[in-house]
């Protein structure tokens, strides 16, 4: 099992969700976050005054998937979230040692 954590543009969330649903990935955690990567924010001007927007609004989407579909999921997320511009985001893949269903107590395997 892998935890796939992707940081995407806010307006791309629905596209990513749809892409994951097509792969029958139902469960996901979506969190509003702020941050920056290489994009490092930018400067905005309002009424003549410059202010820096260093932490940009992004959305973090987390899914835990079996090893067999990891590549498909990554590809789907990247295709759905890409605009080609700086600031499209990142996808991280982390190993998951164990997973439990709290209601049933069952341990889930890969």
């Amino acid at each position: 099992m892998k935890l796939i954590k992707s940081i995407v543009r806010p307006h791309k969330v629905d596209d990513v969700r749809e892409a994951l649903e097509k792969l029958s990935i139902a469960g996901m955690t979506v969190t509003d976050v702020r941050g920056h990567g290489r994009q490092k924010g930018h400067t905005a001007v309002y009424r003549g005054k410059e202010y820096s927007v260093s932490l940009l609004p992004k959305v973090e989407i987390e899914v835990v998937v079996p090893d067999t579909v990891v590549e498909d999921v990554i590809e789907a997320i990247m295709a759905a979230a890409r605009t080609g511009e700086i600031g499209d985001g990142r996808v991280f893949v982390l190993p998951v040692e164990q997973s439990y269903n709290i209601r049933t107590g069952a341990r889930e395997t890969n």
């Binding site: 702020r34 001007v45 009424r47 003549g48 005054k49």
Partner: protein, 848 residues
């Protein structure tokens, strides 16, 4: 009471279990028929007494120390539901040692074995001399102290000592209430209410009884609450709660969407379809909860009279007392509905409530009034607008208006969403309450809770007519009475309300725009790529003007914030602000390149609607070279007036038109361009003591200049002098023609005024060469001062710059000027910008 048998505790336990099972079955049967109200709870409490007493009797020989076992909390006041906690207090007249602990175990263990949820307190009597002030909940539970078993003299001692603390508990109790209400966003109109804890719930009805018991002297005649309504509400709430307990098999108090259908059916709510029964159930719930909330508010008012309010007479018809605004003549008030609205206006202006007596009178007579009764005169309509101006207390007064039925009478369109439940994933409140909470969110911007909110707060301060925002919010969701595109339906329903208010065309169009498009900004901010130039451009085009942008931004913020306490996150506020700033910059910095002639649709409307004295050629020729923004800013009537003003204009001539709108004057002026023109015109207004509030100037490539200034006549020159308007026009003509020098006219005046209006903060001067292809856009934000615009624009001319477009605005004491300039027909380079900035800074500092 059953005593202890020879066979030990087993018989006692079995007998108690049988007794409890019978009591529960009886209670559950009543609950399933929706009839387990106050009587059932009382009877169940009585039967529980028997269970506890039998067990205490079986355990009493474990200790020789005198003890008393009491019921407290809900059990103490005989309001025990099927799975409520059984709250017990065991007090010993001495030190608690091993025998007393054995006694406590012998009482509690069998009760736990009966699967009862206990809330037990074990104390020594000495602890009541100096109770722990950090545990007000325990002290408050003692208000419902009731003897169950043990030493009666000790019970009297406990009761007396608890009573001694009663007067000190009023404020802690009110604090607990306020903290609990805050968890529910201070509103009873929850779509999935907690029957016990939510405002207007069972806990509040208990609080009313407690407060009355704490200070009976406060409830003298005239300040009393309708206790029958509270008792009726409590009965209803208990009936609902008992069903929740039966259905959930535990202490469940949340009336969720899933449970509402079942509860409605068991309560016997009217309706042939489940959703009708749910509507009936929730309608009655809100009615009952409102009765409790109103009684609690009234109780609080009686306990916390405003000390600084002595009886004051306001005009002929009103007086302000500690209870709020009262009608001086009840008979007259009964006959004159316009006085009802006036009572609310006075309450808002004097920052007090409308008294319960006045609310009761309105509630009693509101049904015989129609919406037209409240807008019969210009004064009535103006009064309604004034009421809707965002200020402290607006939400509370509108809520009172809504509760007593007045709001629905004034705006029957709003009545269509009265207690309307729309189930979706996000909304937590009924549609009408969501609307009022959105208005509360606007009100809260007057005292922003965070630095991030201040930016939105400043937009509110800048609004031309902030009451239009409240009006639009009031109507924005009325279309939700049906399941369809609610924004369009809301616009349709709002028409009759807007007709009655007789708003000017431009304001009416703004309100309709806000209602129709109230979802657009959140769509762009949260669901679209707001950085996509096409999306951002389309949005800026949709809003058209800065005023509409600010209104829509605030409406979106207020609307999203009223969905639930968690919906409007700082993250979303940031997204919204970014969209606002981008659209604002597009509207103010980037509009110069977008000319009217490319937009046939706007032109064809103008051509089709033109009056007979204006030919198509004259109209087209006038509009040539004007920015597209011109049509979004001015209505048809204004455009045709401008065309007439431009007729036969010759060099050095000025065609001007001055008119008055309430406290604001508007000067429209057409002339042909020449150096120092804008500086001279604004200088003339300053010379006459006019405070320029807003304005815009446009110059066509052919040199036709159209300036429109809005200003306040602070010194009353225009008002006090009959010939003042012609005098202003005469001086304008002479100054433009060059026969009079405005700078020397202003010299003496500026010097004295500048000494009184020193700049407190350094000005912000910013150049932008990106937003426009043709112009350098100069933005200046500075403390407002007499002659400011004149001085700034004179520097531009002195530095050889041509001013093509100008947008002038004020925000409180700050002036915000956006000027589109060129020099030798091109944009300004870095060196030219630096030189210009230095010179502007210098004249702003010293006043030249």
């Amino acid at each position: 009471m059953t005593g202890r048998t020879d066979t030990g505790g087993t018989d006692v336990q079995e007998s108690a279990a049988a007794r409890l099972a019978a009591a529960r079955e009886e209670y559950a049967q009543l609950a399933r028929r929706g009839r387990a109200g106050r009587d059932a709870a009382s009877r169940y409490s009585y039967q529980m007494d028997g269970v506890v007493q039998s067990i205490v009797a079986g355990a009493r020989d474990r200790t020789s120390t005198p003890f008393v076992v009491c019921a407290v909390g809900g059990y103490g006041r005989r309001a025990l539901c099927l799975h409520s906690d059984v709250d017990l207090l065991i007090v010993f007249d001495g030190t608690i040692g091993a025998p007393e602990e054995r006694f406590v175990n012998a009482v509690l263990q069998p009760l736990w074995d009966l699967r009862l949820e206990l809330g037990q307190h074990v104390r020594e009597i000495a602890e009541f001399s100096d109770p722990d002030p950090t545990n007000p909940e325990f002290l408050l539970s003692l208000f419902d102290l009731r003897y169950l078993a043990g030493d009666e003299a000790l019970y009297d001692c406990v009761a007396n000592r608890a009573a001694a603390h009663i007067p000190t508990m009023i404020e802690p109790l009110l604090t607990l209430v306020s903290e609990r209400h805050a968890e529910f966003n201070n509103t009873l109109y929850q779509l999935e209410p907690d029957i016990k804890q939510a405002p207007g719930g069972l806990r509040d009805s208990a609080v009313i009884a407690h407060l009355r018991a704490m200070a009976p002297e406060a409830f003298v005649s005239g300040r009393d609450v309708d206790l029958n309504r509270v008792a009726g509400a409590e009965d209803f709430l208990l009936r609902v709660r008992s069903i929740l307990h039966v259905l959930g098999g535990r202490d469940v108090n949340l009336l969720t969407h899933e449970l509402q259908e079942k509860v409605a059916e068991m309560m016997g709510c009217a309706g042939s379809h489940p959703h009708q029964r749910v509507e009936a159930l929730m309608g009655e719930y809100f009615l009952r909860a409102r009765a409790v909330t109103r009684a609690l508010t009234s109780t609080e008012r009686a306990l916390r009279p405003r000390p600084d309010v002595a009886l004051r007479r306001i005009g002929k018809h009103f007086e302000i007392t500690a209870d709020g605004v009262q009608f001086a003549n009840v008979e007259r008030a009964t006959q004159q509905p316009s006085l009802w609205v006036e009572a609310f206006r006075i309450a808002l202006e004097h920052q007090c409530a409308v008294s319960d007596a006045a609310l009761a009178l309105i509630e009693q007579h509101a049904h015989r009034c129609s919406a037209d009764d409240f807008v019969a005169t210009e004064g009535d309509r103006l009064q309604l607008r004034r009421i809707l101006t965002p200020r402290a207390g607006l939400y509370e007064r509108l809520s009172e208006m809504h509760d007593c039925g007045l709001l629905n009478r004034i705006f029957p369109e709003f009545a269509k969403v009265h207690c309307r439940v729309v189930r979706d994933f996000y909304h937590k409140y009924t549609v009408d309450e969501h609307t009022l909470l959105a208005i509360r969110n606007v009100e809260s911007l007057l005292e922003p809770a965070s630095v991030a909110r201040r930016r939105f707060s400043s937009l509110l301060q800048e609004l031309h007519a902030p009451e239009l925002l409240t009006l639009a919010l009031l109507f924005h969701d009325v279309g939700k009475w049906r399941e369809a595109d609610h924004a369009q339906e809301s616009v349709r329903l709002a028409q009759s309300g807007l007709d009655r208010l007789e708003l000017p065309d431009d304001e009416r169009a703004t309100v309709e725009f806000l209602i129709r498009e109230h979802l657009q900004m959140s769509q762009v901010a949260f669901r679209r790529d707001a950085e996509d130039p096409q999306i951002a451009g389309r949005f800026a085009e949709l809003v058209g003007t800065e005023e509409q942008l600010k209104l829509l931004c605030l409406m979106t913020l207020a609307d999203v914030g009223a969905v639930s306490p968690d919906t409007l996150t700082p993250w979303k506020e940031d997204l919204l602000w970014r969209v606002y700033v981008d659209a604002y910059n597009r509207l103010t910095l980037g509009y110069g390149d977008d000319l009217l002639e490319g937009h046939r649709a706007g032109l064809s409307v103008l051509i089709a609607g033109r009056p007979s004295d204006i030919s198509e050629q004259e109209l087209v020729s006038f509009l040539e070279g004007l920015p597209r923004r011109y049509l979004t800013t001015f209505g048809l009537g204004a455009v045709y007036r401008h065309v007439r003003l431009a007729r036969n204009i010759q060099p050095d001539q000025v065609h001007a038109f001055l008119e008055n709108h309430d406290a604001v004057w508007e000067l429209t002026l057409v002339t042909l361009d020449k150096p120092y023109l804008f500086s001279n015109v604004s200088g003339v207004l300053s010379y006459f003591g006019m405070d320029i509030l807003r304005g815009q100037a446009m110059t066509t490539p052919d040199g036709l200049v159209l300036d429109v200034f809005e200003f306040a006549d602070d010194e009353g020159f225009l008002k006090q002098n009959v010939a003042a308007t012609s005098e202003v026009c005469r001086v304008l003509e002479e100054v433009v023609a060059g026969s009079l020098d405005v700078t020397s006219l202003l010299k003496g005046r500026e010097r004295s005024l500048l000494n009184r209006h020193r700049m407190r903060r350094p000005p912000v001067i910013h150049f932008d060469n990106e937003h426009s292809r043709k112009f350098t856009v100069l933005e200046i934000v500075a403390d407002d001062a007499p002659g400011l615009l004149h001085r700034i624009t004179r520097v531009l001319s002195a530095e050889g710059c041509d001013l093509h477009l100008a947008l002038i605005a004020t925000e409180g004491k700050r002036a915000i000027d956006v000027l589109h300039v060129t020099r030798t027909a091109g944009k300004l380079g870095d060196a030219e910008q630096e030189s210009l900035a230095r010179e502007i800074e210098r004249v702003l500092e010293v006043g030249d």
